[in-house]
Amino acid sequence: METFVQLVVNGLGKGAVYALLALGFVVIFKATEVVNFAHGSLVLVGGYLVYALKDSMGWIGAAVVGIVSAALAGLVLERLLAGARNADHNGLALLTIGVDVIITEEIVRRIGADIPFIGDPYDSQPIQIAGLTIFRTQSIALVVGAVLITAFFLAFRFSSWGVAMRAQAENREAAALMGIRSSRVTATAWLVAGALAGVAVLFMATQDFSGAGLGRGTHAIALIAFPAAILGGLDSTAGAVVGGLVVGLTEALSAQYISFEFSKSAVFLVMLLVLVIRPSGLFGTKELSRV
């Protein structure tokens, strides 16, 4: 029982990180209908700056710079996509693959043989509460994730940015006719997604979370957030959060009860199961085809 509670808490902590990444995918998809394959490289951009700067300017300063630069990297990508005028959203998704290949290779090359851990203030310092061992990284991730996700939903629901964003997702042309600046909405969506990725990486490249430092593996973890977004439904923000938690829990529980090697496959099998029953994910809009 104790192991189980421990696993659930740690799994939820991982899930919160996946939820942050998945939320980024979903925000971008809602605003632009583009699937961002380069999310993993936004993660790496943030992580690399933390690694490069944390010795000279302290961890907190480096983390802030990392988050901001991941957000700016998202914006740069958005500008690049905006330049591709003769490509539809599928073509743009393919373009992000090309960008991803370049950024990933460059950053992995710069990191070199180090494979650094970047969660200095909380990594490898488990908390003991009532006989339970809980990873500090995961518990902080859970709190930070909960705060950010709540803030996001409040902004999405009540702020004028949120209203504009939802209007644009609903009907792009009508939103434009109502005076919503489409380019501004799109740009903020990429900024938000990049910032969320920048926060997520602070927890991903740690001993507690993955047992591996910043590198190709971190990039691959960002791909695990794909099932999280898909499982919940690519156009549902609530779905992204639920999907993230499901993925986190599945990974933690199957690693303990089946085998560590199987845990990533388990995530994908759960996703397949959901997709076979609901092809648009749990909360995704069903695609209707009229003839």
Binding site: V35, L80, G83, A84, N86, A87, N90, G91, L92, A93, L94, L95, I97, G98, V99, D100, V101, I102, T104, E105, E106, R109, R110, I111, G112, A113, R216, G217, H219, A220, L223, F226, P227, I230, L234, E261, F262, K264, S265, V267, F268, L269, M271, L272, L275, V276, P279, S280, G281, E287, S289, V291
Partner: protein, 403 residues
């Protein structure tokens, strides 16, 4: 589709003599290329390093052709290609493997030719087994769903050591033999223009034959009823159904064909490496996510749906990487790079990543569209100049041969 249903306005045909000369040019160029490919082992001489690069390009071409049929012609995004490569490689090693070789490894000891066919069939069947999932999903949902096969393959490859040999040692695939003729070093070996036809030369001819078969089968499929039904489903499922196309069957068929091509590429990979070894993690290795992305890049650079384009894509993505590596070992390129510098892999990734970006930005049709445009320009400079963008028939994105 466009040819049979849409009567597109075309410029009047040029007078006959020009046309005949063009055909001659085409035939001569094709023949030259064919002779060049046949004589490649003689041109590269006794060193086999260049030949290995060329062999690798053919592997990428066969796999890329399979993926371009699925993604470009049938409109189904798949990232599962490395999984089928793995299944093909392992199936070949298991079916042709010597039963007495080791107690820990399963081997059926059947002839290698049977093993190649068996591996391709097994991959096709697994593709068929995935069809019920593929039939329900669309676009990115299908792409991510297919990603699950890569993770499943990683896990199965690591846990089924009696088939795969495990991640530490792997297993050696048996030498390919055709009716008693071994594709290995032999003594004495026949010579051709003074170059001994040893293992690598023999494998080159084998790969060339397999690649030609794959190429012409794919061209045949694209230009026939099968290809038309793929494109009909890609363009509009409802309209395809209305015209009597069984959408579910066509989608399943495309998956089967694509998986079979990938399986063949997997067998070729095993023979090329002389090793079948499952990956240790999901992000680097012979059957990893990086390979999923590389194959997508091959298909995008070549132009979605174009069979010759996939060959070009393979040259850019697979050929450059191996060529740079060759340069690194033979001529000491990137010598000062060490670890963390610009090495062969990094440079080739930069180039193909940039190629993908440039293709999407400036020529979404990829190498195939560039080729078509050049051909059109040579054919009728005046007519093309009068059409904006130099694209006389923009609806022809379906890789039909020029009418």
């Amino acid at each position: 589709m466009s040819d049979t249903l849409v009567a597109s306005p075309r410029a009047p045909l040029p007078p006959m003599p020009a046309r005949r000369r063009r055909n001659w040019l085409k035939i001569v160029a094709t023949l030259l290329l064919f002779v060049l490919l046949l004589l490649l082992p003689i041109i590269t001489g006794t060193g086999v390093a260049y030949l290995k690069v060329a062999q690798y390009v053919l592997i990428g071409a066969v796999g890329g052709i399979g993926l371009t049929l699925l993604v470009g012609q049938a409109g189904q995004l798949s990232l599962a290609h490395p999984f089928f490569l793995l299944v093909g490689a392992v199936s070949y090693a298991v079916i042709a493997g010597d039963p007495e070789e080791s107690d820990d490894l399963v081997g059926l000891g059947l002839p290698p030719l049977v093993a190649v066919i068996g591996a391709v069939v097994i991959c096709g069947l697994i593709g068929l087994a995935f069809a019920p999932v593929a039939g329900r999903l669309r676009g990115i949902y299908l792409g991510v769903a297919s990603l699950s096969l890569v993770f499943l393959g990683l896990w199965l490859g690591q846990s089924l050591e009696m088939f795969t040999g495990g991640t530490s040692t792997g297993r050696t695939p048996p030498t390919f033999e055709l009716f008693g003729f071994p594709f290995s070093n032999a003594d004495p070996s026949p010579t051709l223009f003074g170059v001994a036809i040893e293992k690598e030369q023999r494998l080159w001819y084998l790969f060339l034959a397999l690649a030609f078969i794959a190429y012409f089968l794919a061209r045949g499929a694209v230009n026939s009823r099968v290809g038309r039904s793929w494109r009909a489903v890609r363009d509009n499922e409802a309209a395809a159904t209305a015209m009597g196309v069984d959408v579910r069957r066509v989608k399943a068929g495309a998956f089967v064909v694509s998986s079979a091509f990938a399986g063949l590429a997997g067998v070729m990979t095993a023979l090329w490496l002389d090793l079948v070894k499952p990956d240790e993690n999901e992000f680097t290795g012979t059957y990893s996510l990086a390979v999923s992305i590389a194959y997508l890049a091959i298909v995008i650079i070549g132009g979605l749906g174009s069979v010759p384009g996939a060959v070009v894509g393979s040259i850019v993505v697979y050929g450059l990487e191996k060529f740079f590596r060759l340069g690194a070992t033979e001529f000491g390129w990137f010598a000062e790079a060490e670890f963390g510098g610009i090495n062969a892999v990094v440079l080739s990734a930069f180039i193909y990543g940039a190629a993908v970006v440039l293709v999407v930005l400036f020529e979404p049709g990829g190498a195939a569209a560039i080729g078509r445009r050049l051909a059109a320009r040579m054919r009728r400079p005046a007519a093309v100049a009068s059409v904006p963008n130099g694209r006389p028939t923009p609806e022809r994105n379906d890789d039909d041969p020029p009418a």
